[in-house]
Symmetry: C2
Subunit: 575 residues, 2 copies
């Protein structure tokens, strides 16, 4: 700390001078000792001076409410919410989350370092601490056709950026434990820093080899037993409660039942949608749920604050103690945990304040590269054999690989696959590098009729993905995606029913969350009325059909990918 | 980790290849989760690969004994034991301490950076991890005449040394909280690293200001209440159990009684003598005592291992988990906690192995600079007034400032102070820079008759200190100290009774611990037989009489120092 500033603050800490700001009559949560004490909290220049009896130039009487350190989301992807990064942070900050450990994996897969820079720039003046983990798996696998390759060499320039904390979730466990060169170049580049994991269901030996590589966290644990396996190996478990993946109940129940030492746990959201954040909350929801499940509130709060800060080496965050940043959430009491107010660096965060979304570099709004796409690219010659069919399953992102007889028609002397009530066509169109690659397949279980549904959000490469029961509507949807430079599209019988433009890398809107929510509130019910079965979120389910790391069968621009066999078929009728 | 090495180790961790070394049938303490599990521990190239079922090229059957991470002494001064640093580390390592966080405060006060380099060099191939905190208070106070001034500028060169972890105990709390320029230059130099504290009994406001400066540990807590005050402010409390200062019982009793969250605690010895280490143990003794006082062994072991490692940012130490260094202590069981074996980087530490003590730079054995010292320098003119007398108190290092009539005699027409059974003479002679400064005072309570006792160890400046009842013996003792270039001396009636040479900076022997113990075993009983009262360790008590930070009255080369008044008197008869 600069000396003159220290001298000024020291006098206030000692009570010689009045503090700038004092929170009076607070029930203060002391994260280091995990206890609540009654007292005043003195603050100046955004820093906590002390807890005790203080007088302030300005005083805020908390009348016995709980003053806690601002909460920490130890792992999330900002892109998944469809809104701009600053917009998401602002919304979550109103729930008490003042620190975000962000992995810009989606942006990097589309636009590489420019995508990462976008996330950094968009959040740099947000009312929160936004740190970034360098995405480790860009592309995610060897069968991905994404926008960029992020090598250790390209990451080097970011080591000096004090908002870059370490390496983002290392999904490619096989490359890690087999000692793949480029993977280990990245791991070694971040030696001494946090290297986040993503390692569901490895065998004990493989998990040891994975931890041996220096990976020290995981947010993919879905049950208590595996979480404990990771803790025992020295990994910090980030208990996830997001929109799709909800692991908190299983893990916290185990902790409560076994009286487990909780020092190895933190909380995260990973992917949580804006409308759910507004409805249920953010990390405050994780805390509340954990307490409802029987975890003492002190332990839950330590997981949400100091333990996350220590895990990521953030020595100035996560506690209310001298020298710590004055990020606070005020809860009504320790049982109900309703958020009354939030402070960032001692400044109150205003509710729903309208803030102009920052513009982004023009090239980030020009990422859907595709020329002359026509129906000819979607033709699927029927060979007479059975076809590999992607069976989409309700309520999950896993698929089933079926080998079935499928319908066909004749056209200009050729036998072609045709849709019916059971089978529709799916296509993934490479959109980054004009490679012209288009993969065409057959889906069952989704149910869309008389139209097409398309998206530029398709994990992890974010190529264009479209499902339809006729080629004309599918082409129209794809062409509209190109025109909008990304988004969600719903086409019905030759007409565009609705669009949600997502022009920023084809992933995010650059308008407020209200616009996003409004578009979705029309398009989703319509998609269901067109036949998409209940239990599917039309666009989210669609976005996972190109993700080649989840069993059993996927569609990629190169063709049909059989995940368990690590084998690519040019088309569904191939053996 | 280098890639080829990782590939080799990964195969062993996964059980594909046999591990180099496997500890079979261990009751393994997993520090992260604070629990014991039965299993095998695989090790290769000094690194833990995993805990589970393993086969090894070499196997050691532990037959159910407890395998724990090597223990960590989170704060100690190697010099205080009188033996060479390597010798001390080797002895303590046999007790299970495999990591030492060392503050070379004494060496630095004599020889500056050369003294620090000596500690680094002497311990670099010790069978233990020896880290160094840069001494922050050299000299300790503005009234000290020590050998060197260690400024932030001189410290800079050490920032790149990966064995230098941070800034050593910051004793000068007044300079900290008042914003003294040179103190804050040092604090700022170590920003982002650990800055150790030394802050007994500050007021709550002053302690907040002290923590605000970034100081994050303290080992000076003597009671539970103050320890908790520090924990609440975010400071880690290093519970000390050394030779003189024994704080463990008071603090651990409080923890047990209140069911306190123990994550804010570690263990240290600070100053513990070699003979006590051999008799009682080292950090293993802290663990054992804590368990006897009712602390669960799991919590005590976490304090002695992972919590200390985390406190000092040592990510590879303090646990038995993949990637951690294979430093182990084997206890017979979790109740008796007797040390059976110790391993450092997977290698067994041999008991009492004789190792050649490394030579040191010649200038470090030539640090007692004094010419022509004679009786004239000890003359104390009696002015007829009452004199300030240093009342030495049994069993403590604090003194009492008495104003008393003292005996005198006539010599060559001058009235001079003379000793009797109650009052003797004490002198401190500057020995670093030929300044010629000699302070002479009067002591009461010590009781030495018919001789003199002298030492070159006198905190914190380590000038020569001597007590005697006649000037001739005192001069002889001082001259012998000069001849030996440091040590402990006992003179009786004109003859040197015994010496313990401490030629390394006047602080340490360069022979084995046996020689040190042997010399002390003769000299200490003799000193008592010459009148020194029981309850005084003759040399240790003497070594604190020049320490100007402890109340109430001290002797320095500049004269008598009244601590509480921060006032120097040229001689004891001054007002």
């Amino acid at each position: 700390m600069e000396l003159e500033k220290y001298r000024r603050l020291s006098k206030m800490a000692r009570g010689i001078d009045k503090a700038e700001l004092v929170f009076k009559n607070a029930n203060v949560f002391l994260a280091h000792t995990g206890e609540f004490v009654e007292g005043d909290v003195a603050v100046a220049e955004g820093i906590v001076l002390g807890v005790g009896k203080y007088q302030g130039e300005k005083e805020i009487d908390l009348e016995g409410s709980c003053l806690c350190p601002g909460l920490i989301d130890s792992h999330l992807h900002l892109e998944s919410t469809l809104v701009s990064p600053g917009e998401l942070v602002r919304q979550a900050a109103q729930c008490g989350t003042t620190t975000f450990i962000v992995d810009p994996h989606e942006s990097a897969n589309v636009s590489g370092t420019e995508g990462i820079d976008y996330i950094l720039e968009q959040t740099e003046d947000a009312p929160a601490n936004v740190y970034v983990m360098m995405p480790s798996c860009v592309p995610a696998t060897h069968v991905d056709d994404n926008g960029c390759v992020l090598t250790a060499g390209k990451m080097k320039a970011y080591l000096e950026n004090n908002r870059i904390l370490g390496l983002g979730e290392v999904m490619d466990a096989v490359s890690v434990i087999n000692g793949n060169v480029s993977m280990h170049e990245k791991l070694n580049l971040f030696k001494g820093r946090v290297r986040d994991g993503h390692a569901p269901f490895l065998t004990p030996g493989d998990l040891s080899a994975y931890a041996l590589a220096g990976i020290s966290t995981d947010h993919e644990c879905v049950d208590y037993e595996y979480a404990m396996e990771e803790c025992k190996k020295g990994m910090q478990v980030l208990i996830r409660e997001g929109s799709a993946a909800r692991n908190l109940e299983a893990i916290v129940k185990g902790i409560v039942e076994h009286g487990t030492d909780t020092s190895g746990f933190c909380f995260c959201t990973d992917d949580k949608h804006i409308e759910e954040i507004r409805r249920d909350g953010h990390i405050n929801y994780n805390v509340k749920r954990a307490v409802e499940l029987g975890l003492p509130v002190e332990k839950a709060l330590k997981m949400a604050t100091i333990q996350a800060a220590q895990c990521y080496g953030l020595k100035h965050l996560g506690a209310i103690a001298p020298g710590y940043q004055a990020d606070f959430v005020v809860f009504d009491n320790t049982r109900d945990l309703n958020v009354l107010e939030v402070y960032f660096k001692g400044e109150k965060i205003q509710k729903d304040e309208k803030v102009k979304i920052k513009p982004c570099a023009p090239q980030l709004k020009n990422t859907v590269h595709l020329l002359d796409f026509g129906e000819d690219r979607l033709r699927l010659r029927h060979t007479g054999d059975k076809a590999h069919v992607i069976h989409m399953l309700q309520g999950q992102i896993a698929t089933e690989d079926l080998l079935e007889e499928v319908p066909f028609g004749e056209e200009a002397g050729e036998r072609l696959f045709t849709s019916d009530d059971t089978y529709q066509k799916i296509a993934v169109i490479e959109r980054h590098k004009h490679t012209g690659k288009v993969g065409v397949g057959i889906v069952k279980g989704f149910g869309l009729r008389h139209g097409a549904i398309a998206s530029s959000v398709s994990h992890d490469s974010h190529n264009l993905i479209v499902v339809g029961d006729n080629d004309r509507d599918m082409v129209l949807a794809v062409q509209e995606l190109v025109r909008l430079q990304g988004g969600y599209i719903l086409v019905e019988e030759g007409e565009i029913y609705g669009t949600l433009p997502l022009p920023v890398m084809g992933l995010m809107s650059d308008e407020g969350y209200e616009k996003v929510n409004e578009a979705l509130s029309h398009m989703i019910p319509k998609a269901h009325s067109m036949g998409i079965k209940p239990g599917f979120d039309p666009f989210i389910t669609l976005s996972f059909m190109a993700l080649p790391v989840i069993p059993e069968i996927r569609i990629t621009p190169r063709g049909i990918y059989l995940v368990n066999e690590d084998r690519m078929l040019k088309q569904p009728f191939d053996k």
